[in-house]
Symmetry: C2
Amino acid sequence: MDSAHVPHVLVLGGGFGGLWATRALASAPVRITLVDRTNHHLFQPLLYQVATAGLSAPDIAAPLRHILRKQSNVTVRMDDALAIDLGARRVSLAQGNLDYDYLLVATGATHAYFGHDAWAEHAPGLKTLDDALAIRSRVLSAFEAAEREDDADARRRLLNFVVIGGGPTGVELAGTLAEIARHTLPREFRRADVRSARVHLVEAGPRVLAAMPPELSEKTRLQLLKLGVEVHTGKPVTAINADGVTMGDARIDSRTVLWAAGVAASPLGRQLGVPTDRAGRVPVAPDLSLPGHPEVFVIGDLASVQQDGKPVPGVAPAAKQMGEHVAAVVRDRVRGIAAKPFRYRDYGNLATIGRMAAVVHYGTLKLSGLLAWWFWLVAHLFFLIGFRNRIIVLVNWGWSYWTYQRHARIIVGRRDREP
Amino acid sequence: MDSAHVPHVLVLGGGFGGLWATRALASAPVRITLVDRTNHHLFQPLLYQVATAGLSAPDIAAPLRHILRKQSNVTVRMDDALAIDLGARRVSLAQGNLDYDYLLVATGATHAYFGHDAWAEHAPGLKTLDDALAIRSRVLSAFEAAEREDDADARRRLLNFVVIGGGPTGVELAGTLAEIARHTLPREFRRADVRSARVHLVEAGPRVLAAMPPELSEKTRLQLLKLGVEVHTGKPVTAINADGVTMGDARIDSRTVLWAAGVAASPLGRQLGVPTDRAGRVPVAPDLSLPGHPEVFVIGDLASVQQDGKPVPGVAPAAKQMGEHVAAVVRDRVRGIAAKPFRYRDYGNLATIGRMAAVVHYGTLKLSGLLAWWFWLVAHLFFLIGFRNRIIVLVNWGWSYWTYQRHARIIVGRRDREP
């Protein structure tokens, strides 16, 4: 086949949406360019483990071109997508331009501070490996600073940790931080009383894990308390600075504040010529194409999809399903067949809380505690890409389980050394 | 015992010298403070594996306070030693001061550019984990840039790698880079012909691995050639800029130049009141104490020690032996016993070249090739700290061996993304 006649599918983003779409087009008569600003696919559900030193960065990431090495119709390009010209069917990248016949925009979401961009400096968020390593440095450095500190009051402040946002990421971070302070570190410090460290989880809404049924939110709250986390619900944050967090009348002094509260869709969504929703997501047609542009698709966290009156959640399984759906639509379109509408299949919702504690919700099934944790562990190992990664992650988890140790407690990156 | 009467031993540096001294003082009637600017002990002999994406940073590093958690007479402090006041017996740190009864200066060496500090920007060196991650980013990004590049000439330049310095680090880096270009990456790139990448090893002196017998240098050169490395000996570098390296009349165009040529002792050595040698090392008394200051010791790469008319080499076994010797001297001194002179026991010299190739020299024994590589592998695994690290490193090596893959090919750190 002459390459001039092979449709070019340009995929922006190598997350769950973009990568699953690319793989589902393996046998399609198209050529694909997959563009990502990093060189890797990231297994984001375990990113909090890198931030809390339980796993190394390469344990949960794999080079995109390695994953796709056997798929000969794909070219992987590490580059930044800057602008989309829908009329010319062209994307401007930091290092050049690419024309497309079909465009899949799957650039996901980033953390957002609801207009308080000054908070970013004091309360880093968790979306990329760089974020995770920066948070790891900050957390470990706070313990180091406390050990150096002579003043008891200052030491206490250094051992106050605040996690803002009671969603899955906030719950995971808070639970794991409490575990580190209670079990991992105490024997290793001589001056700082690490066991007295306080971990606060602050949530604006009335309960944690709001996407779960209320009884599982309550179970989560109780398991967090058991781990030593102080849970503050119904407390919207009003200010953050270098010394702590203000929630209306209440104030927590802290030098280590982590942000897990807000998500905003990738700014590329604003270039697609349709009004986005409040979080910057793009409303799409039933087949996930851009209204008025059947050759452009928006998938994953960037897409706003309603189903049965409810939004499809911004989770990995939804992104994968959208990716596979759009691949099918493109395959059909190339053959002149009309597109089918997307339908999200909900395989349940699960979140981990800390050592041996998790919650699982699927239909009428509601699990919590140890059984839920095993469920979570098996599911996450199963979905982790690459045989080697699974083995290594399992060895690391086994090791952590028996010893309470977290092997990746290595501070790298000088700029983050002082908390 | 009243703590006022317990001598305070201040150890600066948690490398092989400082850590081995600290451990050897476990049962001594002293209290110890170990200061390091990082939070970890680094197994430097495998640092090139982190730089070349074969291992993760936490695989070859362990938190100092974790290593020493059971040694109750030690306090670990993450801090920067800035100045030493020998008269007041006090060290100024970035975050405070510490008085000492005994001082062990074990702050090692860093890479040096022989007065050409402007070269640092274009030719990063390899001494810390941050260095290794920066080199990893730079190398991987060069392949990514080549894949993006449309111009064939520019692509060729992007796939030119230069390693400066034919010592063990330079040989390891060059051999591994060639292996990556020949075996790890080719199938994954669609536009760049990665197999055509050229790896140059540039050495000012007449042969590589100058510390080895000439026949092993020659074996090393032949093994490097077999791996695809172009070896340039007798070529002192005269200039380095963003586009390449000049050696007198010769010029190699390259956007990725790595520096493994020069080492200078830690600047703290200049504060000890004695003239240092050309590399900044401090000449010490036979018991490794500072002349005129029997309470101060200098060990490891910072110490200039002559034995039988030859310098004791700057290698890990020498640093460990010095650390243990000084610990014995301090123990004796506390009990009023005179110090014995240090005596270096040479257990041989070994260097790895690449996949299944190494050289070993011990007395009259000279090995090269596969047998030497197995020797090197067992020795390095044996000396790696921590049972978990050994298991993980072995799994990773086994994996790399069978698949030619290097699992840690993850680019982190935005500033180094463009080569």
